[in-house]
């Protein structure tokens, strides 16, 4: 691994919706490097347009990431067809549905449809992310990683806890990920938010690679009833989205 690129990744991590602007001094302090080194990274990222410089000499994310994200063929299909099937699933089940992709050790939410009586936590809104190990969709997607990569990700540091019931022991998380791979459906109960349970199933591309997960969130007391009567509909939604991706984004030859 190139340490300079890993450091660049850490710098990019700082730029979020809640902290959109950073200066060289702040970045230097946050990554423990000299101000000149932080400046070299920031101005290089500006030169390739992943960052832009504000009038006050600070930095923000640049539009290059938008241009690159639009080059991801599956993205448009996932968003367009994803919303359609998520809406249908939310309408027939009455529960909140969402579509997420895996990003590092996080689950990134691409889309969410919340019906009138569905749960609407701030976590899980489109554009937000949650630690992957504690969400059903994240567990499903982590299972697609090569075993050494998954082991390294789970052992790279303490796993964040959001509730009393969040699984943070890497061995326990691994068990749940393996169970999700075997059953084709991942579960998380009161682990991301107290009183909210999630189920998730995978979306595959034309090459058969798992690229996203369709999830459903509900009050925990409705989980058993959902599993016995509605889970099939969740699987159908994921199959339909996979079919749309396969139809519109050809497998590489």
């Amino acid at each position: 691994m190139l340490s300079s690129i890993l450091k660049t990744g850490r710098v990019l991590d700082f730029f979020t919706e809640s902290t959109p602007e950073w200066g060289a001094t702040q970045v230097a302090a946050a990554i423990g490097t000299s101000k000149s080194n932080a400046h070299a990274i920031l101005s290089s990222l500006e030169a390739i347009h992943l960052l832009q410089r504000t009038e006050s000499g600070r930095y923000r994310l640049g539009w290059r990431s938008f241009a690159l994200a639009c080059q991801i063929g599956e993205m448009a299909v996932l968003k367009d067809h994803g919303i359609r099937y998520l809406s249908r699933l939310a309408a027939v089940t009455g529960e909140t549905t969402h579509l997420g992709v895996h990003r590092g050790n996080e689950l990134f939410f691409l889309a969410r449809v919340a019906p009138p009586h569905g749960v609407k936590p701030k976590a899980g809104s489109p554009g937000s992310s949650l630690p992957a190990h504690l969400t059903a969709s994240g567990r499903m997607l982590l299972g697609a990683l090569p075993a050494p990569e998954l082991a390294s990700l789970l052992s790279s540091g303490p796993l964040p806890r959001l509730t009393r019931r969040t699984a943070t022991d890497p061995a326990e998380v691994l068990d749940r990920i393996e169970e999700a791979q075997m059953t084709g459906c991942a579960v998380s109960v009161d682990e991301a938010i107290d009183g909210v349970a999630q189920l998730a199933v995978p979306v595959f591309d034309a090459a058969g690679a798992m690229i996203a997960a369709v999830g459903v969130s509900m009050p925990t007391e409705r989980l058993d009833a959902f599993r016995s009567t509605q889970q099939r509909k969740l699987a159908t939604a994921a199959r339909n989205i996979s079919r749309a991706v396969r139809a519109q984004v050809a497998a590489p030859t």
Binding site: I5, L61, G62, F66, M75, R103, P252
Partner: protein
């Protein structure tokens, strides 16, 4: 635009770190037409040893800018999607760019689109094609518009310092074909001065045959941050009330220029 066009030196440019420059070269390889690259292909394209390409690709995968398929090839990573989302939010367009463009396009009955300068080209953030509106690949979300002939490009370039415009003209060419001829640069300079003076950009079939467009700037304070444009067929452009068209554009551009409301 301020001042005249000088020598091709963009004074704010600094030396780029080698690994970040290489990363840029790798990211440029990926497109919708060629979404997957192997280590060997990347090594060939960059003219580097396979081991260096492997190290670069693995590192970019580790930070999420690329992802590795189960066949060991590489694609652009989902992290770009979350960065794109944060960029839209950070620039105050989340939840209102697309609805405002949709309303404008429906009201006028013509194609509407919002573009920003991505560092090298005008980039379409969102577009709406109403029933019967002109359409084409250049109107789609994520499309990069012709360097200087489009109405949006004129608005965005007219707001830049002359040295920066000259740098783009000399290095990227603004036409995608390299350095611009002196004659083209002179024409560009005149066009941008006229755009800055009139407050709007116009493209009468310059960038796309059969399409005319008009664009106005979207501002944050004194800065132009985007261009709002309407495109139509030449016959519709000849017949339309230009004053009404500009007033409708200005109305929407003003709303988009206001600070974004705080997100709940």
């Amino acid at each position: 635009m301020t001042g005249g066009i000088g020598p091709p030196a963009y004074p704010t440019r600094r030396p780029v770190l080698g690994t970040i420059e290489k990363s840029d070269q790798v990211l440029r390889l990926f497109s919708t037409e060629r979404a997957e690259w192997s280590v060997v292909d990347v090594a060939q394209a960059l003219g580097t040893p396979t081991s260096s390409a492997h190290e670069l690709l693995s590192s970019l995968t580790a930070i999420g800018l690329l992802r590795r398929t189960d066949k060991g090839r590489y694609r652009l990573g989902w992290r770009l999607v979350s960065m794109a989302s944060d960029t839209v939010v950070g620039n105050g367009f989340a939840g209102r760019g697309a609805p405002e463009v949709r309303r404008l396009a429906r009201r006028l009955g013509h194609t509407g689109y919002l573009t920003v300068w991505d560092g090298e080209w005008p980039l379409v953030l969102t577009s709406t094609v109403p029933q019967g509106g002109v359409t084409g690949p250049q109107m789609r979300r994520g499309a990069q518009l012709p360097g200087y002939a489009s109405a949006s490009a004129k608005v965005l370039l007219a707001a830049m310092p002359a040295t920066e415009v000259e740098w783009h003209a000399a290095t990227i060419g603004l036409l995608g074909v390299g350095d611009m001829l002196a004659e083209h640069r002179r024409k560009l300079r005149t066009t941008l001065l006229a755009t800055a003076a009139s407050g709007f950009g116009a493209d009468i079939e310059e960038s796309t045959p059969g399409v005319c467009s008009v664009a106005l700037p979207v501002r944050r304070g004194d800065r132009v941050v985007a261009a709002l444009a309407i495109a139509m067929r030449p016959a519709d452009y000849a017949a339309c009330d230009r004053r009404q068209l500009l007033a409708a554009l200005a109305d929407t551009a003003d709303r988009l220029s206001q600070d974004a409301p705080a997100r709940p």
